[in-house]
């Protein structure tokens, strides 16, 4: 508990981490408190106010169906952040498990698992995702499953590398000499010492996943209308990008700012948690 407190304190002292955390906090809080923040419904259409430019009552304007854009962006944040977080969590879960087993077991187990990772990494990711999404009925759950199941390989490799180093540490050798069970050594001696790299990589992965989800929704393969997602909103703006410029612009900005926030935090975490990385 205290470790987390110190880490947060250190992060707060770091300028880019502070900006990153603030951006993420604003997006996350507005996503969670969406109904309290806006008087409008995200999916209720009112064609009489369709495609209105930003005004006092609609700060970011309305979309082609007369829905308040800010409301839709806030509700869209729920979908984008939710998918980003859940898919990353799934990827971390699979990747960490595979990496731990592969690194600790070594031998043929390691060989087989790493060849599977090699094969999966050899596939063009976007193509596989498009194919998988295209073959199934698009829904938030399916997208989380597909994105999670196709992004764990790098984590598995990183964790495996860490485990191979940690396995040779004296504290693991001491634990083996004490006769502590393999399961306990893996869970209490090796796993806690890999959390730093996992945290850094997972943070950066959330950003990537948000972009991939937006791309899928933009292509019509992700979240289906009328539900709001940043990708679907950009797609809608594509119909009239000159006259209704605010639709794509603000949705695009939402993605860019959120991902920048996540990456700023991820990079700061990397230099704080890993003293070997750049010390700037």
């Amino acid at each position: 508990m205290k470790d987390w407190y110190y880490l947060l304190k250190k992060l707060w002292r770091d300028k880019s981490a502070r900006i990153g955390m603030l951006i993420i906090a604003v997006v996350a809080v507005s996503a969670l408190a969406a109904p309290l923040l806006t008087p409008y419904e995200p999916n209720t259409q009112d064609l009489s106010i369709a495609a209105q430019a930003p005004s006092f009552s609609h700060p970011l304007g309305t979309d082609l169906y007369g829905r308040d854009l800010l409301t839709r962006l806030i509700y869209g944040a729920r979908v984008s952040l939710g998918i980003g977080l859940c898919a990353t969590l799934l990827a971390v879960l699979i990747g960490t498990t595979v990496g731990l087993i592969s690194g600790y077991a070594g031998g043929w187990v390691d060989n087989i698992l790493m060849r599977i990772v090699d094969v999966l990494l050899g596939f063009p990711r976007l193509f596989v995702i498009l194919l998988a999404v295209g073959l199934s009925t698009p829904s938030v759950k399916i997208i989380i499953l597909i994105l999670g199941a196709l992004s764990w390989m790098e984590i598995a490799r990183i964790v495996r590398g860490e485990v191979i180093v940690i396995r040779e540490m004296l504290y693991v050798k001491s634990a083996v000499a004490l006769g502590i069970s393999k399961r306990k050594i893996l869970l209490e001696y090796i796993l806690p010492n890999t959390t730093d790299v996992i945290t850094v990589y997972a943070t950066l992965l959330i950003g990537t996943t948000i972009i991939v989800e937006a791309s899928l929704s933009f292509l019509g393969l992700g979240v289906q209308p009328p539900d709001a997602s940043w990708g679907t909103i950009i797609n809608q703006g594509r119909i009239d990008p000159i006259n209704a410029w605010w639709i794509s612009t603000f949705a695009g900005l939402a993605i860019v700012i959120t991902v920048i926030g996540i990456n700023l935090l991820g990079d700061s975490l990397r230099s704080l948690l890993n003293p070997r990385a750049d010390q700037n």
Partner: protein, 281 residues
């Protein structure tokens, strides 16, 4: 070799032990380089005895120790623990080693899991039936910690909150919690400053008296051994060139290399290039 009555008192017996490693050959990848770390070594450790192994870095001391611990498979020879062969890494042999032998390594910083508080680190060494009862477990952990001169105030600390000497004491307490017959100490003092070294030596001497511990200590400093050891084995290029009692070894060293070690006062200062000793074959 130990025979007859002596065998009952013998804790560890090492017969004709050889250990070699394969390394990649930069010039011919088809023919790996063989490095002979330990060559045809014999040693007996009796119960309650302290045996020191002295030699310069790279002489094979740590390989010898890792082989006894079952981390490295010997290429030849056998190791007997309480009369039972433990040199082949079977589950039974490893179980016997884990029960009776505990190591304390040179680097106390690396020997403790940075994410585990001292209490949990020592508790991990206790049997499962004790760990299940929280109050007994706590009591036993404290007992072992106090044996090494630390107190209840250290229980909640993480390793990085302790000094080097304190960490080494925790490592010793953890090893003792397993109640081993034999404690293997791999250069336990070399990472410490002089004062801490002497305090640790005092501690080991006291534990030896109180718990009738058996030690196998590796060091490159002969002076440390003089205080602690009953017998000393001098290792060079993977071989024991001389095994003798401390008095004899210091009074009348037989081997040129031992004389050189004694003359230099510390194995570290030895100029082994000018040694009159035989060269490795």
């Amino acid at each position: 070799m130990v025979t007859g009555q002596n065998r009952t008192k013998t804790l560890l017996e090492v017969n004709n032990l050889s250990v070699s490693y394969q390394r990649q050959n930069e010039f011919n990848f088809l023919k790996p380089r063989i490095i002979e770390a330990v060559r045809d070594v014999n040693l007996t450790v009796r119960k309650g005895e302290t045996v020191g192994i002295v030699g310069q870095s790279g002489s094979g001391k740590t390989s010898f120790l890792m082989t006894i611990l079952g981390f490295v498979k010997p290429t030849a020879g056998e190791i007997l623990l309480q009369g039972e062969t433990v040199s082949s890494p079977t589950r039974q042999a490893l179980g016997l080693i884990r029960k009776h032998i505990q190591p304390v390594f040179q680097d106390p910083d690396g020997s403790l899991n940075p994410h585990k508080r001292i209490e949990l680190a020592i508790a991990d060494a206790l049997p499962a039936r004790i760990r299940r009862n929280k109050s007994i477990c706590h009591e036993q952990v404290l007992q072992h910690l106090q044996l090494t001169g630390l107190g209840p105030e250290h229980l909640n600390h993480f390793p990085h909150q302790l000094s080097g000497g304190q960490k080494q004491r925790v490592c010793i307490a953890r090893a003792l919690a397993r109640e081993p017959g034999l404690l293997l100490l791999d250069e336990p003092f070399s990472a410490q400053d002089l004062l801490v070294q002497f305090l640790l030596i005092e501690l080991l001497a006291e534990l030896k008296k109180r718990l009738r511990m058996t030690y196998l200590i590796i060091a490159h400093d002969l002076r440390m051994m003089r205080v602690l050891a009953d017998r000393i084995a001098v290792m060079k290029n993977g071989k024991f060139v001389e095994i003798n009692t401390v008095e004899k070894l210091f009074r009348e060293p037989q081997h040129a290399y031992t004389k050189e070690l004694l003359a230099s006062g510390s194995g570290l200062k030895t100029n082994f290039h000018n040694s009159a000793d035989e060269q490795p074959k």
